[in-house]
């Protein structure tokens, strides 16, 4: 993990700029990128403008032109159908899983880097790496069995417990790669000052790892917020629905009321888009650093 890529807005070294000026325009890549941008944005645009149309309006106006008289009726419908409860459930599940997951992953990552001479820790690290290859789908039946045996079926905790576990491998990988980049001398000087490993972890590694922590936090939160299989299998009553499940329920309930469905999709996506707007730079640079090469 090289923290090579500078923040996305830096416009490059003079060298690279000169290179691009000398070259002809990349028509193929450019054309493709713009066409794909159009394709990416079209459904999003459509769903947003549709959510502000009345049902009658929807059938009689051009689907790609926003309605002249905006209505919030659809949003009212969605909120009246227990949206707030589902939203709250998703918040509880996401925070309840992500915070402990990142905390224990950070501790494990610190231990793995600091104790890299220990055979035991190397073994644990190996298991975490192998864990990256275990798809949640493949183990969902035993997870279901464990949850029943714990008498937690149909609770939010049932979703939280396995969500934590499946956030651990990637979090440990990313965080340990970051901690490994902390200069050894800093650890040494902490030790000279008589700091314990516990103290060193919180006072030295934690602040230095903050960008990676934010990346991992947002990345996992996104995955858990959007998670579908665990809530589907581990809960059944409407009171325990999280947002993705609620969406499918809305779809069944609203039937051909497409504007109401559009409003439910828009409303459930809004919080993540806001989160993205806040943490975008961290997430992007973290991901490119993590997957780049």
């Amino acid at each position: 993990m090289t923290r090579h890529s500078p923040s996305p807005t830096v416009s490059g070294t003079p060298d690279s700029r000169r290179r691009h000026r000398a070259m002809s325009y990349n028509w193929l890549g450019g054309g493709l990128s713009w066409v794909w941008l159009f394709i990416v944005m079209l459904p999003i645009y459509w769903i947003v403008i549709t959510s502000f149309k009345t049902q009658d309006n929807y059938f009689f106006t051009n689907p790609l032109v926003p309605s002249s008289d905006l209505t919030f009726e659809n949003y009212k419908t969605v909120i009246e159908n227990d949206f707030v409860r589902y939203f709250f459930n998703s918040v509880v599940v996401t925070l309840g899983a992500v915070l402990p997951a990142v905390l224990i992953s950070f501790m494990a990552a610190y231990a793995i880097v600091r104790g890299s001479a220990s055979r035991l820790l190397r073994g644990m690290n190996w298991i975490f790496l192998m864990g990256l290859a275990i798809p949640l789908q493949a183990v969902i039946i035993p997870v279901y069995l464990i949850i029943i045996r714990l008498k937690m079926y149909d609770t939010l905790a049932a979703i939280i417990l396995p969500s934590i576990a499946f956030a651990i491998p990637l979090s440990v990988l990313v965080l340990s790669n970051f901690i490994r980049d902390v200069p050894k001398e800093l650890f040494e000087s902490m030790r000279m000052d008589g700091a314990s490993e516990w103290g060193t972890m919180w006072r030295l590694a934690f602040p230095l790892t903050r960008p990676a922590l934010v990346t991992v936090l947002i990345y996992n939160a996104l995955g858990i917020w959007n998670g579908f299989l665990l809530p589907l299998v581990l809960t059944q009553s409407p009171e325990q629905r999280t947002i993705p499940l609620a969406l499918t329920a809305f779809q069944g309930q609203f039937g051909v009321n497409i504007p109401a469905i559009a409003a439910s999709v828009t409303l459930t996506t809004l919080p993540i888009v806001l989160l993205y707007a806040i943490g975008r730079r961290q997430l992007l640079s973290g991901l490119t650093a993590g997957f780049g090469k």
Binding site: G12, N26, M107, G115, A133
Partner: protein, 307 residues
Amino acid sequence: MTTIAPPVVRTKEPTRSSGGRSGSVVWMALPAFLWFIAFGIVPLLGVLWLSFTTWNGIGEIVPSGLDSWKATLQDPKLPHAIWVTFVIMALSWAVQTPMSILIGVFIAARKRYREFLAVLFFIPLLLSSAAIAITYKSLLDPSFGLGSGLGIEALNQDWLGNSTLAMATLIFIVSWQFIPFHSLIYQGAVRQIPTSMYEAAQIDGAGRWKQFWSITLPQLKYTIITSSTLMVVGSLTFFDLIYVLTAGGPGDATRALALLMYQQGFQANLMGPASAIAVILVLVGLGLSLLLRRLGGRSDDSQLEGA
């Protein structure tokens, strides 16, 4: 992940702090480790055990030898689901890879508006598969969707009601969802290619196309393998999207392995055969990642770190 300290320090260095004191940090790894064992490794072993039992999801779990495996392997639904999974995997890879590389190279240039493109490209990754499936289901609805609204005949197909069209639509939506992500991976990788390589090529008079083939593409080799591994192994686990979009239909046209497993287990209450399918899923995934890793010709450690 290129330049860092070697992943594992094998030499004994008794004077270093980590040597004598590692005992004091081991416990810090325990919470994560035990949690992952409980909900990751135990279920992995559990699914193998369950594949040799009969269980309806509620009652007693009865060991039944090879019954579940026999039932699964003789079921004609299995080869069909494997075929569907393979088609989804191959086609979505073939569509996504060239497009992601071309877009990635384009947005790698450090220009403001291309950075902006990268920002917008991230949006599909924020949406849940459920939201995406529902959006497309409404958008493509033959009576209420975009096609009928615009009155364009060619757009007004029964996109999800015809076997071939449904598969094509699925591939398209998968590409819609993931091309931006892979483009961003390639963007990051292209930016790591040393500028000096291009300068040398330019002095030699190589044009953009020549440079792409002789510098960019070879330099992206490991990224292509990483990205392909993510695509291929990821496509094994497409569940949410298919479940909401087509529920495997029309008929069984889009019933991939993960969906078949869910239906066997949680709808037909045949947990034994469903576990057998899950084991197959794990084995196929593992086999494919090993195969792709071999193609990459890298050692275990570094490839895993790259994944």
